[in-house]
Amino acid sequence: MTRIGVITFPGSNCEHDTVHALGLAGADAELVWHRDTDLAGLDGVVLPGGFAHGDYLRPGAIARFSPVMGEVARLADEGRPVLGVCNGFQILCEAGLLPGAHIANRDLAFICRPVEVEVVDTGSVLTRAAEPGRRLRIPLNSYEGAWVDPTGEGRVVLRYTDDPNGSQDQAAAVANQEGNVVGVMPHPERASEPILGSDDGLVLLSGFVEACREVKV
C-alpha cells in the first residue's frame, strides 16, 4: 500500500477530507502532526488546506517554521512527491520549495465555488495521469489565492480557463522544475465523489498516488 502523510498544522482544516479522498484514490493516508519529524516510511506527503496559524501575518509564514518542514524539504530534495493544496501551496511558497508567493484575490473577496481548470503540463506528480488540454471542474476556496512570481521560474501545470483571482499566467497549480513538488489552489479532494458534484479531482489525486508508489520501488 502506498503510504502518504497528510501534515496537520494548528489551524489546518482539510486534513481529514484529504485523507478521505486519498483513500478513494487508492492510498493509505495518515495524519502527521506538525511537530513530528519522522517521516520514515512515507512515500509522499500532502500539505492540506486550511488556515495554519490562523493565516496570521501571511498565509504559510509561520507554518514554514514547523519542525516537520525540515523533513518535508528533505523529501522534496530526494525527489519524492510533495503536494500542497491551497494553504499547503501557500506554505510551500513561503518555505521556498516552490517559487512565488500569494496575494489577495483581485476582488478582495473569499471565493468558494467550483472553477474550471485546464491541464497544461503533465510533467508533474499532480498532473501526470491527466490528458493535456483536459478541463476539470474543481472547487476553489481561498482569499489569498492569487499566485505571483516575479522570477518567472514556476512551471504552471493547471491553468484557470476563466481567471477568478488574478493569478499570474492564470496559474491554478504550479510545480518546481523537477515536477515532484506541486502546489494547487483549487481543492481536488473536494471533487472526488459524484454525490458532491464532481469527481474530476480524482484524476489528479490518483496520479499523485501513482507517483508516490513509483518512488517507493
Binding site: 494548528p10 489551524g11 489546518s12 482544516n13 482539510c14 481529514h16 477530507d17 478521505h20 479522498a21 486550511g50 488556515f51 496559524h53 490562523g54 493565516d55 496570521y56 473577496a109 473569499f110 471565493i111 468558494c112 465555488r113 472547487p139 476556496n141 482569499y143 481543492h187 479532494e189 473536494r190 472526488s192 465523489e193 454525490i195 458532491l196
Partner: protein, 749 residues
C-alpha cells in the same frame, strides 16, 4: 488564605434604600432599583462591587430571559428522539445507530450594529462554542441576516462588513457555512439582525453537559487570555463607565480569534474522546460569572474561584472586570482532580493556554477570591434561578385591525414580464450567491445539497443517513399576523427539509423582537410563540432550543417581529440522487402541488416590491395540508421520481419557477387560471419537475398523501412563458438569470 464559609446565612429582612446621588452603581450596571433590592434580600446585605457586577450581567435580559421565560414554557419540547431539550447550551437529538446531533441558534444583533465585521464574526465563535460544549464536533453553520435597504451607504457597510466577518471567522475556524437567509427591509436600518445556527455531530458516548460535578472537581479555564473585552456587553452597559474616576474607555467590542477557537475545538474534542472532563461550559455573555455559577447551580454545588489564577491579557483588571469580561474563545472544563495533569497536557499539545482557577465545594456558595481577599460570596443558584421574572403587560396593537383592512385591491394585473424581473431584482429574493460564495460551504465533504436550494442536505459519513436543514424567517408576514406568520415559518421550514427527502425532527428558534416594555411588542411575542408552538405540535416536532433578542429598536422604532425558525430533518436512508434545482430538462413536466387557494396576496413580496404595500391579513396555515405536502415531498424525493422539487415562497409561483429555469438553464411554458396565482405565497405548495412517463406515478403519490397536484406546464426552449387568461407574457431565461444574479453584487459595488 481564608477558607470559604459553608453555607452562609442570609437574612431576609434587610432591604436598604438604593444609595442617593447622581446615578448609583447598580443603575449604571443596568439593574433596576427593585432588582437591586432583590440582590440585597438574597445576600442579606449590600452587595460588594464584584457581586453587583455578577448580578447585573446574569440578570440582564440577554442572560436571564426575564421577560420571555414564562412564554417559552409553551413550546412542546418532548419526543422520543430528544436527548437534551432546551436549557442546556444546545439541544441534542438521537439520529439512531449511536449518532447524536446537537443544534443551536443565537443572535448577535447589537454587536453587529456596533461593529459589523467583529460583531458578526464573534457571533460565529459563540454559536460554535455552544455546540462543542455538548461534546459534538461542529459540522455546519447557517446565517440568517437582515439589513436595511442597500441604497443607504450605512446599510451597505453593515451588510458587507457582517458577511466578511462571518466568512473570515467561519472559514478560518474550519466549519462550513452551508446556508442561511438574507433579507432587506427598512425596519432593519437602525437594527440589523444577525442570527447564526450551528449543527454538531457526536457519538452517543461523547455527550457532555454543563455541570460542575461533585465537590473536589477542579475548574480549568482553557483558551484565550482574559482582557477587558465586551465588559457588560450583556447588560447594555455600552458607554457607562464602571468607575467614574477612571478615564479609560472600556471597549464593548469583542475581537474574535478563529485560530484560537480552532485549537480550542480540537483540544476539547480530544478531552471528550478520552473521557477527561466531568462537564464543560463555554464562556459567552457574562463570562466567568456564568461559567462558574451555572454549572454549579446545575449540579447543586458551590465553588471556590481564584481570580489571580486566570490568565490575563492586560494587567490591572479589577475583580468585577474579570468576572464580567466577555473575551472570546474560552471554555471552563470541570475535571476530576486525578485528571488535571492529563488535561493540561492535552491543552499544551494543542497549544491552548490553561489555568486551574477553582474547585467545586459542597453547599451552594460561589466564593470568589482575588489573592487572599474574598471579593464575592453568593449563592450560585441565585444568579440564574433567582433572576427576576417579568410578566410584562400585553396588548394587541391598535393598528392590527387597520392593517388587516388595508388591502391593496388591484383591479388589473401589472405587466407580468416586468413584474417578474422586478421581483428577481429584489435583493431579498435574488440569488444570495454573492454572500454564500464567500463562505466555505464544502469543508468536511458532507455537503450534498449546498446553499442556493430550499434546504441544505448533509450526509453523515459512515452511515446511510442524511441531515436536512432549513432556516426561515419573514418579518413582514409576522408583522401582519404574528401567530399565522410564525406558524407558517415552521411549516415552510418543515416542507423545505422534506423536499430534500427528510422528515422534520427538531426545531430551534430565534425570536428577534423590539422593546419588551411595550405591550404591543409583548403581544407580538406571545402570538409568535403561540404560532410556533401550535405548528410544532401539529407536526409532532419538538423545540430543542432557541434564543430571544429584545430591544431591537432604534429611536423608539421597533423592528418587525422577526422569528427565525431552524428545522432539522433526518433522511434515513438519504435519497441516492436527491432533488436539486438544476436538474430540469427539456420535455419534463412542471407540476404544482398544493391547493388552489383563495387568491390572497397579503404580505407577499409582490405587493411590497411592486407597490410598496404592506397590508391585509395573510392566509392561515392548514396543518392537514402541511402534513400532506410533507408526505408527498418525502416520497417524491426518496423514490427519485422528481429530479427537481422547489417550494413556493417569497415571490410566489412566478419566482419559484424562474429559479428552476435559471438553475437548470432551460425555459418553461406554464398556464394559470388567474394572474394572482403567480404571486401568491400561500403555504404548503411546491413545484416538481418530472419526466412525462412518470406522470401517473406522481399523481398517485399526491393522491396517497392527500394533496392536490396538477401538471401546469412543460420545460422547453429558452424563455419563461406564462399563459394567462387572455394574455401571454415571457422573459428569456438569460435575462432572468442575469437580473437574479446581479441584484446584490450591483448594489454593493
Amino acid at each position: 488564605m481564608t477558607t470559604p464559609t459553608d453555607d452562609l446565612k442570609f437574612e431576609d429582612a434587610y432591604v436598604p434604600e438604593p444609595e442617593p446621588g447622581p446615578e448609583p452603581l447598580h443603575r449604571r450596571l443596568g439593574l433596576t432599583d427593585d432588582e437591586y433590592r432583590s440582590v440585597c434580600r438574597i445576600l442579606g446585605r449590600e452587595p460588594r462591587p464584584a457581586e453587583l457586577a455578577m448580578y447585573s450581567v446574569m440578570w440582564s435580559e440577554h442572560c436571564s430571559y426575564k421577560s420571555s421565560r414564562p412564554f417559552l414554557d409553551r413550546f412542546p419540547t418532548e419526543a422520543p428522539w430528544v436527548v437534551v431539550g432546551p436549557g442546556e447550551n444546545a439541544g441534542v437529538i438521537d439520529l439512531g445507530d449511536g449518532w447524536l446531533a446537537a443544534l443551536r441558534i443565537e443572535s448577535h444583533n447589537h454587536p453587529t450594529f456596533v461593529e459589523p465585521f467583529q460583531g458578526a464574526a464573534t457571533g460565529i465563535g459563540g454559536i460554535l462554542r455552544d455546540v462543542f460544549t455538548m461534546g459534538a464536533r461542529p459540522v455546519a453553520l447557517w446565517d440568517q441576516i437582515r439589513f436595511g435597504p442597500l441604497d443607504q451607504p450605512r446599510n451597505r457597510y453593515l451588510f458587507t462588513g457582517a458577511v466578511s466577518g462571518i466568512a473570515w471567522y467561519g472559514n478560518a475556524v474550519g466549519v462550513p457555512t452551508v446556508g442561511g437567509e438574507v433579507a432587506f427591509e427598512e425596519c432593519y436600518s437602525g437594527n440589523p439582525l444577525v442570527n447564526v445556527m450551528c449543527l454538531g455531530l457526536m457519538r452517543s458516548d461523547e455527550l457532555v453537559l454543563g455541570t460542575a460535578g461533585r465537590p473536589g472537581t477542579v475548574a480549568v479555564l482553557l483558551g484565550a487570555a482574559t482582557g477587558r473585552d465586551g465588559i457588560g456587553g450583556a447588560s447594555v452597559l455600552a458607554s457607562a463607565s464602571f468607575d467614574e474616576s477612571s478615564t479609560t474607555k472600556r471597549p464593548s467590542v469583542q475581537v474574535g480569534d478563529p485560530f484560537e477557537e480552532k485549537k480550542l475545538i480540537e483540544a476539547c474534542l480530544e478531552l471528550y474522546r478520552r473521557g477527561l472532563v466531568v462537564g464543560i461550559q463555554d464562556l459567552g455573555a457574562a463570562g466567568l460569572s456564568c461559567a462558574t455559577s451555572e454549572p454549579a447551580a446545575r449540579a447543586g454545588v458551590g465553588m471556590e474561584v481564584h481570580l489571580e489564577a486566570v490568565h490575563v491579557r492586560e494587567p490591572g483588571m479589577t475583580a468585577a472586570e474579570l468576572l464580567m469580561s466577555e473575551s472570546q474563545e474560552r471554555m471552563m472544563a470541570f475535571v476530576d482532580p486525578d485528571h488535571v495533569d492529563q488535561v493540561l497536557a492535552v491543552a499544551e499539545r494543542w497549544e491552548v493556554d490553561a489555568s486551574v482557577v477553582g474547585t467545586v465545594r459542597a453547599g451552594g456558595t460561589l466564593s470568589v477570591y482575588e489573592g487572599d481577599e474574598l471579593v464575592a460570596e453568593v449563592p450560585a443558584a441565585s444568579l440564574s434561578e433567582d433572576a427576576p421574572r417579568y410578566h410584562r403587560e400585553l396588548g394587541e396593537p391598535g393598528w392590527m385591525e387597520d392593517l388587516w383592512s388595508n388591502t391593496l385591491g388591484l383591479v388589473a394585473p401589472p405587466d407580468t414580464s416586468k413584474t417578474l424581473l422586478l421581483l428577481l431584482d429584489d435583493p431579498s429574493i435574488a440569488s444570495a450567491a454573492w454572500v454564500y460564495e464567500q463562505y466555505d460551504h464544502m469543508l468536511f465533504l458532507n455537503t450534498v445539497i449546498g446553499p442556493g436550494h430550499d434546504g441544505t442536505l448533509l450526509r453523515v459519513k459512515g452511515t446511510r443517513k442524511g441531515l436536512a436543514v432549513s432556516t426561515d424567517g419573514n418579518g413582514r408576514l409576522c408583522y401582519l399576523d404574528p401567530r399565522r406568520g410564525a406558524a407558517r415559518l415552521v411549516y415552510e421550514a418543515a416542507l423545505n427539509v422534506a423536499l430534500c427527502g427528510a422528515r422534520p425532527r427538531a426545531v430551534v428558534d430565534n425570536l428577534n423582537f423590539g422593546n419588551p416594555e411595550k405591550p404591543e411588542v409583548m403581544w407580538q411575542f406571545r402570538e409568535t410563540v403561540e404560532g410556533i408552538a401550535e405548528a410544532c405540535e401539529a407536526l409532532g416536532v419538538p423545540v430543542v432550543g432557541g434564543n430571544v433578542s429584545f430591544y431591537n429598536e432604534t429611536d423608539g422604532q421597533d423592528i418587525y417581529p422577526t422569528p427565525v425558525v431552524g428545522m432539522l430533518g433526518l433522511a434515513d436512508p438519504m435519497p441516492a440522487t436527491p432533488p436539486r434545482l438544476d436538474r430540469a430538462a427539456d420535455g419534463m413536466d412542471l407540476w404544482l402541488f398544493g391547493p388552489e387557494w383563495a387568491i390572497n396576496l397579503a404580505g407577499s413580496a409582490f405587493e411590497q416590491v411592486a407597490f410598496g404595500h404592506v397590508g391585509g391579513r395573510p392566509v392561515a396555515p392548514d396543518p392537514t395540508l402541511a402534513a400532506a405536502a410533507i408526505d408527498a415531498a418525502v416520497t417524491l424525493a426518496a423514490d427519485g421520481l422528481a429530479p427537481v422539487l422547489h417550494d413556493i415562497s417569497d415571490g410566489g409561483l412566478a419566482v419559484a419557477v424562474a429559479e428552476i429555469c435559471i438553475a437548470s438553464d432551460i425555459g418553461v411554458s406554464l398556464r394559470v387560471s388567474d394572474w394572482r396565482h403567480l404571486y401568491a405565497e400561500d403555504p404548503h405548495r411546491f413545484l416538481a419537475a418530472a419526466a412525462p412517463e412518470d406522470g401517473d406515478r406522481i399523481a398517485e403519490v399526491a393522491a396517497e398523501a392527500g394533496i392536490p397536484a396538477r401538471r401546469i406546464g412543460r420545460f422547453e426552449g429558452i424563455d419563461i412563458v406564462f399563459e394567462l387568461p387572455g394574455a401571454v407574457a415571457s422573459v428569456d431565461v438569460e435575462t432572468a438569470a442575469r437580473t437574479y444574479r446581479e441584484a446584490i453584487p450591483r448594489r454593493v459595488g
